[in-house]
């Protein structure tokens, strides 16, 4: 296909991606170097029944003109990145000097909003992803063994946790784990502690979110593995049987190696999706105990009367950096494959 025809076909798609994905990334980078205007104060004579006194007030008119002139705010360089709600270099230095043990240092660092979100995001990504792969594999093997008449309905119900809107899925579970909900109340009875609440402690909130993540994502890995199992070469399985391989050995030495490329694919997709974990934190109202990088940006943009663009943009840039680091191994591999082919 000549270049000209190629361009004629692809330009709408390309334009959409450039305008709404590439340009916003650049715009975020630009915004992260700016910070909100300082509040312009004026002295106002305020008179009440007990005489007049001079007061400092925010000059709304001056603020409006200032914002109209330079909507992004004033230039701030990389200070936003370094401040206490992002990388917090100064706070970390102080904490390092003050804390006696590594454990104390870690727990103090976890109080800084950015590191709190970063640690949760990384923990979520790297705990949920392997569990999803393993659970999906076992479900696929088990479903593959049931009579084919039941497979349709089983797959239907299995897909639900993944297809249903993440926020709604999270809410459904949230209502059930409420102290008055069915799971919450049952857990209280089992443990024998009427005060037990899955929402109160950070550890339990984290665990709840991880369980939600596995529940929501397992159907994806199940479906991919299930489709892969249909194509496992029967001849190899049969010859393994003739050679005396046990059931487990056949799975271990035939099925699993055959499905390995699929596991890589699931891992890639899951790493990308889990790194942007966001909706469950809203659905479970978990922000007090667990925040993610995406949630940090969301709450900056939602704060008060005026969104904190600078702060949100700096968090966004750091998140994008995280995504790039996450994808680097994949990109290097693809690049090697590509060069080998070329």
């Amino acid at each position: 296909m000549p270049h000209r025809t190629f361009l004629a076909f692809i330009w709408p798609s390309l334009l959409a991606m450039i305008l709404f994905i590439a340009v916003p990334i650049v715009s975020v980078g630009y915004q992260s170097l700016y910070v909100e205007h300082p509040q312009v104060m004026t002295e106002v004579e305020s008179c009440g029944p007990f005489g007049c006194k001079a007061e400092l007030r925010v000059d709304a008119d001056a603020m409006r003109t200032l914002r109209a002139e330079s909507p992004a705010g004033r230039y701030n360089g990389f200070s936003t990145y370094a401040n206490a709600s992002h990388l917090a270099f100064r706070n970390i230095g102080e904490i390092w000097r003050q804390s006696d043990s590594l454990g104390q240092f870690a727990s103090l660092v976890m109080n800084l909003p950015f590191y709190k979100a970063l640690v949760f995001t990384i923990a979520y990504t790297f705990i949920v992803t392997p569990l999803v792969i393993v659970l999906g594999f076992f479900i696929a093997v088990a479903v593959n063994a049931i009579p084919s008449a039941y497979k349709g309905p089983v797959i239907f119900f299995s897909l639900l946790p993944m297809i249903v809107t993440p926020l709604i899925g999270a809410l459904v579970l949230f209502w059930m784990i409420d102290a008055r909900g069915v799971i919450g109340a049952t857990l209280q009875q089992i443990v024998g502690d009427p005060q037990l609440s899955l929402k109160a402690s950070p550890a339990l909130t984290w665990a709840t979110l991880f369980v939600y993540g596995v529940w929501h994502n397992a159907p994806f890995s199940f479906v991919v593995f299930y489709a892969g199992l249909q194509t496992v070469p029967r001849d190899t399985l049969e010859s393994a049987m003739v050679d005396g391989a046990s059931r487990w050995e056949r799975i271990r030495y035939v099925t699993i190696p055959y499905l390995m490329p699929l596991a890589t694919f699931i891992a890639l997709m899951q790493l990308m999706d889990n790194f942007r974990v966001f909706e469950p934190i809203i659905g479970f109202s978990a922000a007090a105990n667990a925040t993610s990088l995406s949630y940090l940006i969301y709450s900056d943009l939602r704060s008060g009367d005026f969104p904190l663009y600078g702060s949100a943009a700096a968090s966004s840039m750091l998140t994008i950096l995280g995504v790039v680091i996450l994808l680097t191994p994949v990109l290097i591999r693809t690049w090697r494959d590509f060069k080998r082919k070329a």
Binding site: P261, S285, S294
Partner: protein, 293 residues
Amino acid sequence: MTDRVRSRPLPLAALSVGFVLIWLFLAAFPFLWTMWGSLKVEADFFSRTDWMNAITGPKTIQQTGAAFTGDGYRGAWIEQGFWKAVVNTGIVTAAVVTISLTVGTLGGYALARSGYRYTFWLLIAALIFRAMPHVTLVSGYLLPFFELNIWGFLPTTIVVLVAINQPFTLWMLHSFFLTIPKDLDESALVDGCTRFQAFRLVVIPVMWPGVVTTGLFSFLLAYNDFAVTSMLLSQENQTMVPKIASFLGSTQQEGKVMYAVAAAVSAMAPLFVLVMVFQRQIVSGLTAGAVKG
């Protein structure tokens, strides 16, 4: 011989059936429970005394005189104006699916048929774009959209969702187009068709399964989105998902949790129908990327 590979000793078969049953319970029970509970009053669904109340509903009978009540639905749909959010979601999803597919089939076709090196780089760029968290992009939109005065309207959100959808749509359609033999459109070209005619009259008619599958996933992305719709739509233009989220803040205190429950169930129902009708396409779509690498 074939059956020997399949056959299992009884304990193992029982174990795997048991495992499937447990998984089914975990996957389906929360939804069925919430659907059933949405027809009860709050005192039953969130029962302090006994969780069996949510099934039998003694308080519901006491308060409304019947075992089931539509109060939650009435409150959500009429009193809180959820019907408007439903209409908005309908508009947004229909527009997003149509535009994504139109733009995506053109682009995917070009990527599948051009043999040049830059198609590889475009696909890699699309992969990186796909990994971008949506909120980071939203933080880039807000200020320009406020400045241009296009914040809060449905068309803006539609265009943004189409763009965010593109990387995924391109990848999927590209892999579907690769399964269609090149000879087909080349013979059309020989017969005197232009490229576009060959695409429109020869390739698309055999592409329908791929287009339907990709359309399903575009639909799901637009329907399920929270990050974009909650930040880019004004109060009166809200779609279902941000509307449900806003119920949580305002109604939880007023003892109207059941409104949110009813609204959530209402938003779930179309997805159930969708999975029921298009189960095969969803399964094939999820595996399309995997099998073709």
